[in-house]
């Protein structure tokens, strides 16, 4: 006898319950109970009326495994539609990632590395940072990890670029409309709190694991949040007196946005970009589970094959990349901010 038998009896549902007795799937627990009938205990004094507990009293009641199965089925039913819409939309992302990976690897190191160093110098104009980046690259190349590091960098570059292209306009729109901000904030909160592995699950069903866009989307969705948030914040924080002056002199919305709001919000937007870069690095390592190339693959190999050295050295490489990306973007923020010190 199950605990909730009397409940179903009281509502006069006994007949409905017993109509489908024995048709449900066997669970592991009931199988064990069958082979060892003595061990079947009474259970707790007052079991929580969960789906499984109610099922015990009434075989017509769905088990919780049917709930999970239902979610899965719903997703699989929607999959085809989603795929026909998303596949062509996201195809350029695959091309971009493939292209970037190809360029970073096909070009000889003595072209790629100096180009990267030039870029670093251009954005931060700091001897110390550029020297640090040079030394790090020489070290990575010396221990034969340059290719993997460049692959990781290529993916981050593409994904961060797309995050900025999508995120800044979204942030601007949010700053201009309180309603949009109110409706988007919960979504951004969700994206930021969802565990990174969970992103991958629906994506694996939607796209083939061999396609680069699978990890591309996972990285972008995960990393785009800070650039949206900080663009929104930056524009809202622009001194309202200055905006009023712009209005008083008859500036159009476009002139205000390009001439005042974006330049004044730039330090905040750059802080968002810095966060976005760091988050894409975090995700690109996890995305090695779904065939993202780079240092993450080596870390994964270290875990899977218990190759301690491989895993640790690749981890060190990731740390180096993280420090490089952080220093360079922070130096760029500092340069932008001193260009327009606000008092």
């Amino acid at each position: 006898m199950a605990f909730y038998d009397s409940l179903f009896n009281a509502f006069g549902l006994r007949e409905w319950c017993d109509a489908s007795a024995g048709s449900a799937k066997m669970t592991m627990a009931s199988l064990l109970a069958k082979t060892n009938p003595d061990a079947a205990d009474e259970g707790p004094l007052l079991p929580f009326p969960s789906m499984d507990e109610l099922y015990k009293a009434c075989p017509s009641f769905p088990q919780s495994r049917e709930f999970t199965a239902g979610v899965e089925e719903a997703f699989l039913n929607a999959k085809d539609v989603l795929k026909t819409v998303l596949d062509p939309l996201t195809q350029p992302l695959s091309w971009l990632l493939e292209g970037a990976l190809f360029i970073f690897l096909a070009a000889p190191w003595w072209i790629v590395v100096p180009l990267i160093l030039l870029f670093v110098w251009y954005v931060c104009r700091s001897v110390a940072v550029t020297t640090f980046v040079t030394v790090s690259f020489v070290f990575l190349a010396f221990i034969d990890h340059l290719d993997a590091a460049l692959q990781t960098l290529a993916i981050i570059a593409v994904c961060t670029g797309i995050c900025i292209i999508l995120g800044v306009p979204i942030g601007i729109a949010m700053a201009k409309s309180n309603r949009l901000q109110r409706s988007l904030l919960p979504l951004l909160d969700l994206l930021q709190t969802l565990p990174t592995f969970v992103y991958l699950i629906p994506l694996i069903f939607l796209f083939s694991v061999t396609e680069p866009k699978l990890y591309g989307i996972a990285i972008i969705v995960y990393a785009i949040v800070p650039v949206i948030r900080l663009t929104d914040l930056g524009i809202r924080l622009v001194d309202q007196d200055v905006v009023e002056a712009a209005n008083a002199f008859g500036m159009s919305s476009r002139q205000k946005l390009l001439g005042i709001e974006l330049p004044l919000a730039l330090p905040n937007i750059m802080a968002g970009v810095n966060q976005t870069i760091m988050m894409s690095l975090a995700m690109v390592v996890i995305a090695s589970l779904v065939s993202a190339p780079g240092l993450g693959v080596l870390v994964l190999r270290g875990i899977r094959n218990l190759e301690l050295g491989v895993g640790l050295i690749a981890g060190l490489g990731i740390v180096l990349l993280a420090v490089i990306l952080d220093r360079v973007s922070k130096a760029a923020i500092a340069r932008v901010s001193t260009d327009q010190t606000f008092k």
Binding site: D239, A248, F249, G250, Q255, G259, L264, D339, F342, K343
Partner: protein
């Protein structure tokens, strides 16, 4: 001034809150500011303001903080939309302009100077000053040339390449002034433009503004909470209290005949000798008198006292150019220096 006013403000009301239209009915039916706030939660910003602002004159709107003066000036260029009333600029109702027309009006016909300067922190002095022309789409070389003229005029030559944060408050406001002048508009709105500056700098800026006014003859609306500043600058003085006009007119006459205790209290601690001028106190010539000398109608009483060395037995002849227009008796002068204080104010003091 017989010509029609440059700007006419007619029965202007502004009520802040969620349902200003309903609140407006109540205010028009006679509900006061506090009652409105307590009953409906609406704030009465301005009530029934009517002011004529004449071309090429400095109109000063004075009031304490919360009197609605900054709200009022923002109605002229519609940074704030009124609840009810009219603002006529050159006879045309500014409230009927659509967004594009309004933007054009702001670009060409009016400029503004702000209490907190409101300069663009990421632009140089030159680019800040050139802003009004940039907005209109004037080419870079042309707008820089024009801005340079006004930067030099406000005494900032040599600072073109500086950023606002590198300048002192007084210099920043000179940039604000240069920016307004570069726009070459007829109307200049000045919202507590000198209030954030220390007294010496403020005095310099007032002199600069008066010099510029003599030279350019712009229509200036100047907001201030400082009576000394108001009296120094004003051709026409408007005194606001709780969003309503208490008294307006020639500053000298407001000083001599304050219309209510609020203004009496305001003007009672002013150095009247420095503000009042001969023309406000002079009497018609009586032909028999002997004159100790000739004075101009715009001389301050203070300068006369200095000339008479404190002796009250003298009389002076008042000459407007070559023509005698009146006389001034030192005894009348001394009487004029005594502020008229009603009993209500005396108790208050």
């Amino acid at each position: 001034m017989v010509n029609s006013p440059k700007i006419e403000i007619r029965n202007l009301y502004k009520i802040f809150g969620s349902d200003p239209k309903t609140a407006l009915e109540k205010v028009k039916a006679g509900m006061g500011k506090e009652a409105l706030l307590n009953d409906t939660g609406h704030v009465l910003g301005l009530q029934n303001i009517s002011i004529d602002i004449h071309e090429s004159a400095i109109t000063v709107v004075m009031g304490l903080s919360g009197s609605g003066k900054s709200t009022l000036i923002r109605h002229i260029n519609r940074l704030i939309e009124p609840t009810d009333g009219q603002v006529l600029i050159d006879g045309e109702d500014a409230l009927l302009l659509d967004q594009d027309e309004l933007r054009d009006k702001r670009r060409t016909d009016m400029s503004m100077v702000f209490q907190k300067f409101a300069l663009l922190p990421h632009r140089t002095v030159l680019d800040n000053s050139a802003l009004p022309l940039e907005v209109r789409g004037v080419s870079k070389s042309e707008r820089h040339a024009e801005a340079q003229v006004w930067i030099n005029r406000v005494g900032l030559g040599g600072f073109e390449k500086h950023y606002p944060y590198q300048l002192s408050g007084g210099m920043q406001q000179r940039v604000g002034l240069a920016r307004a002048l570069t726009s070459n508009s007829d109307i200049m709105l000045m919202d507590e433009a000198f209030s954030a500056l220390d007294p010496l700098i403020r005095s310099d800026m007032q002199k600069l503004l008066l010099d510029l006014h003599v030279e350019l003859k712009k229509t200036i609306i100047f907001i201030t909470h400082d009576l000394d500043e108001a009296l120094r600058l004003a051709d026409h003085l408007v005194i606001l209290k709780d969003g309503a006009v208490v008294q307006q007119g020639d500053p000298q006459s407001i000083l001599l005949t304050p219309s209510d205790p609020y203004i009496e209290a305001f003007v009672s601690d002013i150095n009247r000798a420095r503000v009042l001028r001969v023309r406000s106190v002079m009497t018609p010539m009586d032909k028999k008198s002997k004159y100790a000398g000739d004075v101009s109608p715009s001389d301050t009483l203070e300068s006369l006292i200095a000339r008479a060395e404190g002796d009250t037995s003298f009389k002076f002849r008042v000459l407007d150019g070559e023509e005698p227009i009146g006389q001034i008796d030192m005894q009348d002068l001394v009487k004029a220096l005594v502020p008229r204080v009603s009993e209500a104010v005396q108790q208050h003091l």
